[in-house]
Symmetry: C2
Subunit: 736 residues, 2 copies
């Protein structure tokens, strides 16, 4: 299924559709110059895999490599593994209730999904020997010949999936559940997020369209709607995320961490909760390393910032000041510089981010990835938004301060061209439509280019590559295959050469897009409409990318979109600040008074930013307050499960009766104090003697009736005294 | 123990020290004009109390009332109640692990504290009949003759407590635990909070003293330290609170709500978690009522704000402009107006707040109290801070705008005094020391007055009242008492007349004090030193108030300081804003240039406020990040208990072996694929026939050794081909 034809074609023969029950394929390289080592490694691999209870078959791979096919040897073996994994989940608080005691019933009540099976088999293959796995870590140390370990695509599903999605306008919960069952929660969360985001985009798209038609750029109305929208969306997603995690039974799974193989530890300590030994790296050392993030961020800002400022001012010079010849060609110079230096800087800084993150030496993959994504986000932020920030906050409101730059470029140009006389120029005038042009570029042109590089180019490239290969080697490896396997093996060899799917790239795209919307859409309110269209396509093209363009991903679990949530929160907040500032700064220059700063006061900017920011905070508090009133169905379900489970446990261990009583808020039957019991007590006391003052105190009135009788007597006395007193008062009685 | 003498005296006779085993005293009024109804109610009371398993004794109370003494009839009965309450706690998630199955062992492992016993007996008395209680609700409906239900003070403890505290400089965890065991978590949390706050006050006190000595008023350094401190304290307390709650076994107890008897419900629904029927009030209706809080807050601001502005400007007029005669007497006028109108306004608005909160119709006491406290906080905020806000933000920086007010007062004074010629005045000059004087008043004078009204006055009043009573009625009710009970009964009658202790008043005092520190201490940095001294006394005087000045409080549970936490967070944030603004606004007027606004630009104020506010947010994020790295010992303990309990359950139900395996991250032993098993499989297959392509695929290599052998052959082949290809390349071989 590495071709579009395969998706829509009618080839329903079993050979291609079925995976021969293969769970995983291990791609094992045999480099000719290291043949003996590779052969030894291969033998070790087969031994290791067989020893943990997996069956193997070996076949010829592409380009002097082997393909080791792995499957679970027996259903019972898998059942045991699934059951243990579920018990573990319960122990670590991921499942609210423990699985049924009976393994068969447990698996019957909650069938094993493809994703669960796939993940468990992958864990058996890769977990360390101490943890009961085969310890195969692709590319690491003695496993350096293992190129990759990947599951095979389920073709029947992929075909149906893409066909269904291309015919549907909106995805529903079942579509997401399907992805979760096949590709795991990590991928499913991405689709769930994009789907929610897509639905929510309808509001700013409508508001943006209305604002564009009626109010034009820089409208306060749109800025408010956008701010409100981003708060509501952010808070909604936080709730939705929890809901999804509970529904998919993965809430809290992010607390169970997958150990990083590269982790260097200082000493061992006891886990305070489970009591198991854990490896510890001195947190102070890590914080020291983390402080390097500050110079890193500064470097990013200076390097990419100065590049953007230089290229933008050069572009302004060429487009808006220079009037000489060759303008149409010269206009490309800044773009070329920007397009060639940005990737260079990015690559260097990206590499620095990776090295920094490695130095920070995190225990587990989640923390490592989060730290890496955070650094990459700084970089992405600079490359994506710097040009727009420059236009919105420097060029349009304070264009005059660019004059020294422009004269610098003027002199440089004179110097470069060896011309004696000054270059032909006109007076610099700010062009307020510049921000719109840029926004259009980022929201439309860039998204189309992105779609092309992401989906179309790889597809064409691979087609061409396949053709080239066919021509190159007439003798295909499939000639040696058994005829009934040939087609299957050829497909596996192709999947083998595909890229691994990385969901974080897709997240990055969406989050950066969210940033354009939140930060700058006030300058071009149609942005949301464009994103709406783009994301409809994006959802489907991502599905195609997974189904055709990548190896099937390992179905990792996850309970949130992780570090991207922080990024979205940050962009929402920053959006409230930039939107208000843009509105204030650019509204003035929009009309007739071009390039004047007279009507821009620092006071005005600051107060509008402050107002907007506090509007954001107040709205956030209000939305949180309102949303907190509605308990999410997921959490409710979880609490209910926990409660029922405890009740069941109580019933089992203490008998139904007690459980019922404990569940009810009170005790229905107290012990009655009977007259007999009290008399018995009194009798015992009298045989023992007088008793203490305390015993005497409680013996004065025997039981309820006594107390009532004594009380009534007292009441009468008091009343009599009262009567006496009042009669004394009214008719002074003669002295006794 | 209602006298100081009792605390320090040497009266160790059993009669006074012991409570005769009394758990609760019910004070039942018998109003002479409603004698028959009261008598019937008394009989109903005794019946109800006896029916739920409590023993009763009745004695004469003060002023034609009865005292019903209640105790638990048998230890076993109490044990059952305690056990059930603990099971319930576990069911509702308050306890991480379920209590032991054996009641006796459960109570032995975790003995019943005085507070627990007291709370449970109180619940038995007051819970509705449906919930298994006696349903006695003091003052409500048919129980309107029940004046109060209260436990008796434990004298031995109180004496030791006050003696110990008066000799100790700092309280430790054991002191807090002691309070918790005697007075419940609700009171203990107050003392824990004040104690933490007291310790933390050392930092701003030191910084304030240093700033006062070296930098004077309005120092930027002190403002930063104060902001930093408030963030650290707030975040520390949030963690500490959780820790305490876990240690006291009450974490999550705030989710178990005590039903409000006055709650009006619209319809019944099923609890989504426990499945029990719950009463529901339409939340939309409540939100509509809650919207009335906005006009309420506005009324508070306008009423109290205009009062403060009027009185302050009048005071300014008299003190700083008026130069005529009688100045020393006239200066009291604004204070008198303020002191007489503030309580009137406060009382009216406080009443309005109560009515509003009743209209909002909350299901439970916690929500009701939180809503009430929130409204009261608005009021307290206005009465406490308005005068200082006026001085800091109007009088000192923009004194000139007071001129119309001053001329208004001038004219009014002229009009009132019928004087023809204008009053003798001098030119208005701003007096920047005014804020210091006010701060001194609020931090020192007011605190002393407060101490007096809170502790000394009630004590003196009661002493005088007691004396008066002695003179009035020669025939004391104690004459009729049994001699061995007389002293005890007299003491109970006294406790009966004491006020109920309300912890929220004490909280309010502390939170308002925290506000002075956070909002205004930059104007008078010695404030923290004064508060340090004050709080040392406060802690002890509150202890004395509980021990001597009030009835023993019902030991309610709680897991946090509740709505006060929000108030402190709000004041911390506001402090960052006001401090920076005060520094900016008042620094200029501090030096020579009195009363000029030339060096105050709106830009400057806004930017300093913005800077300070963002400094606050950044520090908050950083502190939260750092604190999140250190898991609180309480939470860790809780997680551990939960984990161990689950493991124990697993061991019990599934056997030790499985539990161990599930707890360990992997499976130590997989099923080995033996040659025999595979051969058996193959034999079975061959008897069945050829099998599917899938079966064929997995049958090609039988077991590990086969796979290895086939793999090695393939490697050899590839190597041979490679050799052939390379030899072909190096020496072109003749065509075959």
């Amino acid at each position: 299924m590495t071709s579009l034809k395969g998706l829509y074609g009618k080839r329903d023969d079993g050979g291609v559709e079925s995976n021969f029950g293969v769970d995983f394929v291990i791609h094992h390289k045999i480099p000719p110059n290291e043949r003996p080592e590779a052969e030894a490694a291969f033998i070790r691999l087969i031994e290791a895999v067989t020893n943990v209870g997996l069956a193997t078959e070996v076949r010829q791979g592409p380009d002097s490599s082997l393909l080791v096919f792995v499957k679970v040897a027996s259903t019972d073996f898998l059942a045991q593994h699934v059951y243990r994994a579920r018990l573990q989940d319960w122990l670590h608080g991921v499942r609210p209730s423990s699985p049924d005691k009976d393994v068969t019933r447990c698996l019957h009540d909650e069938p094993v999904t493809e994703a669960e099976r796939c993940r468990l088999v992958y864990l058996i293959l890769t977990k360390s020997n101490n943890d009961g796995g085969a310890g195969v870590t692709p590319g690491e140390g003695s496993w350096r010949f293992v190129e990759s370990i990947f599951p095979l695509h389920n073709h029947a599903f992929n075909k149906a999936w893409i066909q269904k999605w291309s015919r549907k306008y909106l995805l529903d919960q079942r579509d997401l559940d399907e992805i979760r069952n096949k590709f795991g929660e990590d991928v499913a969360f991405y689709f769930a997020f994009v789907q929610s985001y897509f639905r929510f985009l309808l509001f700013p798209a409508a508001a943006g369209f209305a604002a564009w038609m009626l109010l034009g750029q820089f409208s306060v109305f749109y800025a408010l709607v956008s701010c409100l929208w981003s708060v509501v969306f952010f808070e909604y997603w936080k709730k939705k995320e929890i809901d999804l995690a509970v529904n998919w039974g993965v809430r809290g799974v992010s607390n169970i961490h997958q150990q990083r193989p590269q982790f260097q530890w200082d000493y061992e300590a006891e886990d305070p909760v489970t009591g198991e030994p854990v490896k510890v790296y001195d947190p102070i050392k890590r914080i020291k390393t983390q402080l390097l993030q500050i110079p890193f961020a500064l470097t990013c800002i200076i390097a990419l910032g100065s590049l953007v400022v230089a290229c933008n001012s050069l572009e302004v010079f060429i487009n808006e000041v220079y009037t000489g010849g060759g303008k149409q060609y010269l206009a490309f110079i800044p773009t070329i510089i920007l397009c060639s230096f940005t990737p260079i800087f990015s690559t260097i800084l990206m590499r620095a981010a990776e090295i920094l993150t490695q130095w920070e030496n995190y225990e587990n993959m989640d923390a490592h990835n989060a730290a890496l994504i955070q650094k990459q986000f700084v970089l992405n932020f600079m490359t994506s938004y710097m040009a727009l920030l420059f236009t919105a906050f420097v060029y349009i409101p304070f264009g005059e301060i660019l004059l020294p730059f422009l004269s610098f470029w003027n002199k440089t140009a004179q110097f470069v061209t060896f011309s004696e006389k000054p270059l032909p120029t006109k007076e610099f005038q700010i062009n307020p439509s510049r921000i719109r042009t840029q926004m259009f570029y980022f929201t439309v042109t860039a998204q189309i280019i992105n779609f092309a590089t992401e989906v179309v180019v790889p597809y064409v490239k691979r087609k061409a590559f396949d053709k080239a290969k066919e021509f190159q080697s007439k003798e295909k490896p499939s000639d040696k295959d058994h005829p009934e396997e040939a087609e299957f093996l050829q497909r596996v060899r192709r999947e083998c050469e595909l890229e691994a799917y990385d969901v974080s790239g897709d997240y990055r795209e969406m989050v950066i897009q969210y940033g354009y919307l939140s930060l700058f859409s006030v300058a071009w309110p149609l942005a949301a409409c464009c994103f709406l269209v783009n994301n409809w396509v994006e959802l489907r093209s991502d599905a195609v990318k997974i189904a055709i363009g990548s190896r099937r991903p390992i179905p990792w679990r996850n309970d949130s979109i992780g570090p991207w949530l922080t990024a979205i929160g940050f962009l929402s907040w920053l959006g409230s600040v930039t939107s208000s500032a843009i509105v204030f700064l650019c509204r003035g220059s929009q009309g007739g008074a071009r390039g004047t700063t007279t009507n821009i006061t620092a006071w005005g900017v600051l107060s509008s930013v402050m107002l907007a920011e506090h509007f954001y905070f107040v709205v956030q508090m209000a939305v949180r307050h309102v949303l907190s009133k509605f308990e999410s169905p997921g959490l409710q379900k979880e609490r209910k499960e926990r409660f029922l489970m405890k009740k069941k446990l109580l019933e089992e261990t203490l008998g139904q009766d007690v459980a019922k009583k404990a569940a009810a808020p009170g005790v229905s039957e107290g012990e009655r104090i009977t007259r007999e019991a009290l008399e018995e007590e009194a009798r015992q006391l009298s045989t023992k003697g007088h008793g203490t003052p305390e015993e005497m105190f409680w013996q004065r009135q025997r039981g309820m009736q006594d107390t009532i009788a004594v009380g009534r007597k007292m009441i009468e006395q008091v009343a009599a005294e009262g009567d006496k007193a009042s009669s004394e008062k009214s008719v002074p009685s003669p002295k006794a």
